[in-house]
Amino acid sequence: MPAKAQEKQKLIDKEGKRIDGRNPDELRPIKIEVGVLSNADGSAYIEQGKCKILAGVYGPRETHPKHLALPDRALLQCRYHMAPFSVEERKSPAPSRREIELSKVIREALEPAVFLEYYPRTSIDLFIEVLQADGGTRGAAITMASLALADAGIPMKDLVVACAAGKVEGKLVLDLSDAEDKLGEADLPVAYMPTIDAVTLLQMDGNLTLEEFEQTVNMALNGCKQIYKIQKEALKAKYVALKEVAEE
């Protein structure tokens, strides 16, 4: 669609509501399940808006190929991958440059949380599959991947939770959808460990003054704190379910 036609579409109405009916500081609906795959050592699934993302963790296991093994800690490997049918135009299965960059920044967002030094010479392999993409896939992926790591029994300092905030038609908004990300003025995803005030991912595209930047970071952190609760409930639900199964 040519830029001109797009500009006509209003992303925020007179009452300050967004096109999907949300208030500026409102998250999209989030649904998280932990332990959804039978083969992986840990797994999780998230739906956040139209995002549908699945992750599986294998490890700690033998590093392959061997020469990658680290003498003093585990090797954390991460592949962020999109299904060909996850986006409007079919995506080639070969990894795109964007997927390679996201694999790196997601790994670096999770790595500060994991006690890798407990498992020297092994490999912990995280596979993230985007089944349907929407705005904020990297954030949803991190939120859910840290649960998959927990489900695999990997010890962590804290869960890592992620959320974006940004600017759309001059207003700061939380948890951007696809249209808001593409047509808005700024998108700023943050990954965070709330209990130790650690920002583990920070990226931005767009244009923000220094003042707006500070506000946007704080809005994203507020989103993180809300999602953190949902994360913990999802983890609890898995173990309650397990307990019930055990007690049956």
């Binding site: 039978s38 294998y58 060909p84 049918f85 996850s86 409007e88 079919r90 392999d125 089944l131 349907q132």
Partner: protein, 264 residues
Amino acid sequence: MASVMVKVKQKQIAQLIAHGKRLDGREPNDYRPIKIEVGVIEKAEGSARVKIGNTEVLVGTKVDVGEPFPDTPEEGVLTVNAELVPLASPSFETGPPDENSIELARIVDRGIRESKAIATEELCLEPGKKVIIVFIDVYVLNHDGNLIDASALAALAAIMNTKMPKYEIVNGEVKKKPGYIPLPIRNYPVPATFAKINGKMIVDPWLEEEQVMDARLTMTFDKDGNICAIQKGGIGHFTVQQILDAAKIGQQKSADIRKLVVKE
């Protein structure tokens, strides 16, 4: 130790099958429970998730416009691709498709193509120049054996679920008109896969059975019960009689499973 336990279990599986029994309690000709959901990926033109026991496969379709093959200038193009994504099994690796995923895609492709399930001659927009391309992407999410049947079934359900845009040619350029129409589906190919273990034939092997099987035989049947595709796999062999027997059983199994997808 693990490896010793594996061998004990494998021996047990083989011995049970010699007596017509299976470790999970099934009869030789029983499938595991099959669950089919369609329309699970809204951004795909069609989609279906199929579970056979713990085996789980997601298929999404995308529709686009492109050039026909030179030898079929008046027919749409069908492209099947399969990915054994590494979260589905510790034995799957990242990287370009290996022989297993290529074989899987080609078996699924063959069933659809040879049964003429999609009326590709209705997918021509401008002979020799512009035709509709249907991408069928098979995504294996959890591997617990018999990926072929799960993938082929999910692919069938996904193409039946597919809605494509209405196209027209205006001044040599392809335009979309408002609205969507279903893909023209003319047949409903469904495979039945057998494993030979310890000299006996069973259907729908799960992972532990696949690890001890000598050979694998997949027969795909169309809606009239005719065979439209066959693939033998594995490093063992079949006797001629085993093959002829499998064809009869497979025809029945395939008809039963078809009813889960094709509601009359």
